[in-house]
Symmetry: D3
């Protein structure tokens, strides 16, 4: 943090237009809200797609995302709450506020909780993208596995079946050698604590990880 | 976090016996203390050496460190506040509370603030140890450089000259390609904000980084 | 190539709106044009920026770039002729035609001409982006250095001084251990052969490298 | 390319003495032959072994290979058409003409067609050699798998069964995460297009890849 | 070796207090004892734990280990004969005599006997520690696998069943791609030669490897 | 070692035809000769070149080298005493006796003596080959530097000036971060001990390292 004065809010941007997702993020971050601490404000990117499941959808929302960031010069820090970290490099290039992506933050948080981590992906299609991203981060040797739930974002969100599937995939990742797990999606936070209790290894919610990193960046 | 109830305090252990260092840590962490948030308690390892400047000193304090950790089953999380992360693996093996080392946490925090980071070491002798540790972490490709202040811990602590030297070494690291800097010592926190302002790149205090990671680990 | 019939043209897209750059690309690719071979068609992305010097500029042109690609289902292969490879992942996700970025292709071509290669960047600001990209490619150990001309794209294009500066930077890269050089910009092709003659090491024009890769992909 | 005049032919050397293999190479390269383009001339190393299946066979043919190269100072570029790239370093050390190995070129071509590639080896014995070679190239993180057909070169060449086995092994590699495949032998080119059509991922013939690279190196 | 005079003995320290293990080491090293060669002296760390199965046990023996090393300034070289290499960095920091850990030495010896090696661990709990150690060494790409016997140290030592289990695990590692095997424990030396004969690949006893390295270090 | 009977001699092959070099090897290995230990026999490859300074020279001696190896089925182990490790893979493929190259062995020995090592090359031309070889070994992160004496093999062998130049280059490598040094040539053994005494860091003679590794491989 550069300013000596009270920092502005941590702006958590849900880059899809689904307000229910934003509400879920808001709930997941309740534990970070304290009197006197920086505010945590969750906003919806109204011009974003309803869901983000492809590379192109992620890239095409960068234009409205940058406009949103520019409209909020008061933000003390910015979190982009989609596991593909869309537009993160661009956001960093247009603002001096620290900016965080949830994939990057989730991976870094997991690296302090186990020597190797596993990633629970929503769909098989994202596994390759995650791997490319972790290679770019230079941390591929720390990843024990990346396995999909094989659900749509929508199914995983509603999901009576979601928790059972998370347990299955989590156990497979532990078998791969994972000592900590990352939920590879912004919308699974409510399963974090129960999954950690069930599996006995740390489970990281990536949005919480990014907000934790943002709080560090703005602390005086 | 495992318990559903309120988590115990984050125990920040200064593994040397210098109470002034503990007091400095306490001050550096003020910004994380909030009503309702987990307490942050800084303690001195009385049986530790007065300063930790060698591998052997770090290894020999593990015995009293483990006793201290065992005497505090109430701790919600543990931070070992010496940049060589002494005893971190052992502490992790004897407690279920999440445990953090400040070197590991400092490096991970820096990786979200710049593609490559630089480390400000106290003395030349620690540069090789840092490098070995970062290789173990699998993140060596992200380190642009590790340069010493060439001061004793004592000089750097008192130090009218310390800030000037930090600026010099920081500029050299930026020349190496560093986009963020890590203060490679538990006792330099008060220089963090001024150095960041002077150099124009993020500067990470590793103890703050570890406490930030600990808060994430215990948030409900 | 999948189709047994004659493949469509190799579409070389200049993603900035500067027609002079497109004309330069067209000239640089003359040597690949043969009777009976796939056509090589250079087009300008009219909605692109006049020059691309920032991350945001590269990301913001993805929307019109995807529209251009979608308007040309006849293309046998696609080359994005800007060294930051803007939109490459997205283009690949929306078309079955093989798509190539010139940074990726330039690096891969250089890896067959020397054990370590050097990159001539236009400005210092792009060096970090190149490095991140090469880490993502997993080839960082093959890069001996990346050094800037410290010119604007415009200066380098007009540039009486450009060739002299290329020689200087090329020699420095050879001193770093480079056995082959990559011109890190789409607009330097006319200097390739003279620079290779002057320095005595292979010099790669990345647009030619990408078109070479595209011709391979469409050959029957 | 250094000379300003018309480059000499691309000399594709089959380093075994089996003329049928040379004829197959000749056919596979037909698509690169164009009026006005550099000639592509396939030659047999008469003093080579009838087949190359061991490290020693590959090393022992270097002597006649170097004599052949020395006898052809007119060559514009040289391709060594055996997947173990025998003598490549030596050839490079005795000629100024650009020289290419088909393993190296095949791997580099595949890296522009998918984030991770798979290699179809002829026999299990070559898998370890491939891996060592890719580690030397520094690209091991990009290889999803290397699986053998478990055939002799001879069986694979005659092979009614070959295509079926290629499909099986290709599918297994796709299951490993491969997004592109490399035919790990000089003699499988006629299966490239049908296999690509069958499997739906790019399939690289390494000799075509090397000739593509050679054409780039000699283009004016 | 620095001194021109006859070097002192190679001190092989069994860091646990089990004299039977020391006797086993003594027998395993018989083949290195020659008239005129440096003596090889196996000693028991009486203050060590009876067995070393956890990180904390390894760290807590460093204090008496350093005292033992300091009490033997006559030692020409030092070998710490426990596969977790406890206290190796500390020992190196307090003595000028060359010091060797058996994990490090075992891995390095295996790297000259096969491109990829496999490690036979005693228990599953040590696999992660081995991996972290090999990453620190920077050699993870050479490890084909690390598989546990799933025995206690005690069972493996008495073990009629031990050899059969070694064969099973060794075969699995060969299936993983291992071309050489390392016995991941100080107490399995008597199985080395029979296992090598049975499996047909080199099998490394790590204590022998460390003593071999020590002899090199003290040879004139 | 496979045979239960007394192992045959360790055959140290000087692959050049210079008998003076063989005599030097013989002297350098004196310290390993003990009553009852395996014999160490140094032989000259009479059909080798007088000196080996290029890739082609190294490759062309493989044919007579393999004949020599085949003529000595009694050898217990084989050492190829030229720092470019010519023919090592081929030798390994034709004999069951363990075979060692001095570059590989020198690097592995150095890795037990310092976290990072430096290599003293004879000429600048070999630096790139060393680097490629260390990348193939997967140990490049452990190399702090590789610097040439800039002498011919002949000059370095006669060399009154050699020791002074070794000190200069050694100091530069220590400045690069090297904690141990490797003499990158078979003919510098007599300088090992004096250089180690002068510079205060371990200095590895690679032929001694390979013979040490061979003795380990044949010990019962």
């Amino acid at each position: 943090m550069t300013p000596a004065s009270r920092p502005g809010p941590i702006l958590v941007i849900n880059p899809n237009s689904n307000e229910a997702v934003t509400a879920g993020l808001d709930a997941a971050l309740e534990g970070f809200r304290r009197a006197g601490a920086p505010a945590i404000e969750c906003v919806t990117l109204r011009e974003g797609p309803f869901g983000i499941e492809s590379q192109a959808q992620g890239d095409l929302l960068i234009a409205p995302l940058l406009r949103l960031v520019e409209s909020r010069p008061d933000a003390g820090a910015i979190v982009i709450a989609c596991y593909s970290d869309p537009g993160l490099d661009s956001v960093r290039s247009i603002t001096r506020a620290p900016a965080f992506g949830i994939q990057e933050s989730g991976v870094l948080a997991a690296m302090a909780r186990g020597d190797r981590f596993g990633v629970v992906a929503i769909s098989g299609g994202s596994v390759g993208r995650h791997r490319r991203y972790m290679r770019r981060m230079g941390v591929l040797d720390r990843c024990a596995g990346d396995r999909p739930l094989d659900m749509t974002v929508d199914e995983s969100a509603r999901g009576e079946a979601t928790f059972g599937r998370l347990v299955e995939v989590g156990q497979a990742l532990i078998g791969d050698g994972a000592e900590a797990l990352i939920l590879g999606c912004a919308g699974l936070a409510r399963h974090r604590a129960p999954l950690e209790a069930e599996l006995g290894v740390p489970v990281i919610d990536p949005t919480q990880a990014a907000v934790g990193a943002a709080l560090l960046a703005v602390v005086v």
